[in-house]
């Protein structure tokens, strides 16, 4: 079978990245300065490839790549549809800008570890890309472990207090991965297949089987730890702030969301027409956002506050997916196209991956810039720093307002889609569950404004910080690009919303 060049890109995105990781290590022995350029160039090439993949998927159709020419279910298959390609582009977009930021901030935050930092960073990107392109569930486990191992090392890279945070994260993350592996083992025991698409055909007659149900629980707990959903979130508020700021940005912005992607890929594809998990996701999502919101309000450390806000946003995304599944569970007979409210809720959740990723990554990078300027993470010492560092300050304000959900920024549209879908569902389905969801969702979105606005006020209006200069160009550039993206994406959201709806139809089985 002849494949067009673009159809080779899914495997190349992963292979180039992994080769580059070891090239960086060797280049680091010869010339320390070259490491960041190799990393940035690789991720740029990957990003261009991912755009080609997205274009191909939207215009031509799903890409199936069989590794070594072995047909699935025997061989490993890389399967890229609109959802994968969408997440892949976000991963690499954030990855590129964080790598540019790291060029300067690494010298400041972990001096002298240039080569090893970029090697591990590139492995981390490899893992993230691998999870998104693969269509084989065991392969997904391996990539989740690659990205997690890189993440443990990166979290601990600053030494001191970061070591214990990294160790706790390692223990928790390994337990999660082991549960995921156990779930895979259960499914393999009853079906004898590891291909996700193949499993989705073999599983439906077996839903009554206790082994299949146990595997289902293991998937939720295992991936729940990876995506830090309440009550499995305890590692996150320690691990994310302890990392260097570009890594905090990647961890909070996209890594937990890739965990979420793995969860919806496993749940919605492997267990179609078994939508009882809608209620579980809904409850977990609402709990994580409410609890984390209460904690976030009292934080004095900027990065810790942002870490709690990541759990809040994880809750919003999980609630969106939960609403979609809950609506589907109320539909009496599964039809070809999902109800409008369900696809809208899922589209909102997927768009929120983008809007939260961009917003949160930017604010974390901005906190790195502030740390560069005045060597502190405490909010009390940051009064008016935004006036001394105008690019960082104004961009961060845009990011915070986008996370808050202020129109016309990008964050507004994703939150609006989720809330609108719940309102639509109340009309068509009704019930206490959806009304409670609506009230809690509104409460949390408004409550979150309290601390986002407080941070904005501290940065821009108050006074009291020591004088500082703007950070160097590579650190300012990504923050400004993210701010422009939030603004432009918010002013012209239609094409992004269309893309998210298309991806949501794929996962809900209507595409």
């Amino acid at each position: 079978m002849m494949l067009s060049p673009v159809e080779h890109f899914p495997v190349l995105v992963v292979a180039i990245s992994m080769l580059s990781a070891f090239t960086i290590l060797i280049a680091g022995w010869l010339n320390k300065k070259s490491c960041c350029f190799i990393s940035i160039a690789t991720i740029l090439v990957q990003l261009v490839m991912s755009f080609y993949i997205l274009n191909h998927v939207l215009t031509v159709g799903t890409i199936h790549y069989w590794l070594g020419g072995w047909e699935p279910p025997w061989g490993i298959e890389y399967l890229v549809d609109a959802l994968n390609a969408y997440v892949l582009v976000i991963v690499l977009f954030l990855g590129l800008l964080c790598a540019i930021h790291a060029k300067s901030s690494i010298e400041h935050e972990v001096p002298g570890k240039n080569a090893s930092f970029f090697t591990v960073y590139q492995l981390f990107i490899t893992g993230l890309c691998g999870v998104t392109v693969t269509g084989d569930i065991f392969n997904m486990y391996v990539f989740i472990e690659i990205l997690s191992l890189a993440a443990y090392a990166l979290v601990a890279s600053k030494g001191g207090i970061a070591l214990r945070a990294g160790f706790t994260y390692l223990v928790m993350g390994s337990i999660g991965a082991c549960f995921f592996l156990l779930g895979i083992g259960f499914l393999y025991a009853v079906t004898g297949s590891l291909n996700i698409h193949d499993l989705s055909l073999l599983l439906p007659p077996l839903y009554g089987n206790r082994v299949v149900q146990a595997a289902f629980i293991f998937f939720i707990v295992g991936l729940g730890i990876k995506m830090a959903i309440f009550p499995l979130h305890t590692w996150l508020p320690d691990a994310h702030p302890a990392a260097p700021s570009p890594i905090s940005a990647m961890l909070s912005g996209i890594m937990i969301m890739v965990g979420f992607y793995a969860l919806i890929r496993v749940l919605f594809t492997l267990y179609p027409f078994y939508y009882n998990y809608g209620l579980i996701l809904l409850i977990l999502g609402l709990l994580s956002m409410t609890v984390a919101n209460l904690f976030a309000f009292f934080q004095k450390d900027l990065k810790r506050l942002l870490a709690y806000s990541s759990i809040v946003n994880m809750g919003i995304v999980a609630t969106g997916a939960g609403v979609a599944a809950y609506i589907l569970s109320t539909v009496a007979e599964p039809s070809k196209s999902p109800p409008e409210a369900a696809s809208l809720a899922m589209a909102g959740a997927l768009l929120h991956i983008l809007s939260h990723g961009v917003g949160k990554a930017m604010v974390f990078l901005g906190s790195g810039n502030i740390h560069y300027g005045i060597h502190t993470r405490e909010l009390a010492k940051m009064g008016g720093i935004g006036r001394d560092m105008p690019f960082t300050g104004y961009s961060m304000s845009v990011g915070l307002l986008s996370l808050l959900g202020l129109p016309p920024l990008l964050g507004f549209w994703s939150k609006l889609l989720i809330i609108m879908s719940v309102a639509l569902a109340i009309q068509s389905v009704g019930g206490v569950v959806l009304i409670t969801t609506f009230i809690l969702l509104l409460f949390n979105v408004i409550y979150a404004a309290a601390y986002y606005l407080r941070v904005t006020k501290v940065l821009m209006i108050e006074s009291g910080a020591v004088r500082a200069h703007e950070a160097p160009f590579p650190m300012v550039f990504p923050v400004v690009v993210f701010a422009l993206f939030c603004l432009i994406g918010g002013l012209f959201p239609l094409s992004l919303v269309r893309l998210a709806v298309r991806a949501s139809l794929i996962i809900l089985g209507g595409g």
Partner: protein, 126 residues
């Protein structure tokens, strides 16, 4: 009672062994304060899952999965074993990162007891 014991426990002893090992590992990770003991617990936990996979692949009376002309019997499924080879590599890498972290913590604080480390962190004011 005797029948139940034979059917549920003795006939499925391989699952019980891996469950018991898993719980031992889990207990060590939660309850032990010594970081090395936590790492050992993690290792036991992972090994329990490997044993579960390995026992899945085996069939009584099965032979190695090499095609022999004229052989009419049954073969053992090799795939779980191959998967576990990959998972063992992952586990070794996890162990290496964990031990590296413990060593750096020992260099930083001079102890590997978690409570003492937390106390020293408090003294340092972080």
């Amino acid at each position: 009672m005797m029948e139940w014991l034979i059917e549920e426990i003795l006939a499925k002893y391989n699952y019980w062994v891996s469950i018991i090992l898993m719980l031992i590992g889990f207990y060590a990770m939660i309850a032990k304060g010594n970081l090395i003991k936590k790492v050992i617990g993690l290792s036991i936990f992972q090994t329990a899952i490997f044993l579960f996979y390995i026992s899945l692949g085996d069939i009584t009376g099965g032979t190695e999965p090499i095609v022999i002309e004229g052989y009419k019997g049954i073969y053992v499924n090799p795939l779980p074993h191959v998967l576990i080879l990959t998972a063992i590599v992952v586990a070794v890498a996890t162990l290496a990162v964990a031990l590296a972290l413990v060593i750096s913590m020992y260099e930083e604080y001079g102890t590997i007891e978690e409570e003492e480390i937390i106390e020293k962190e408090r003294e340092l004011g972080v």
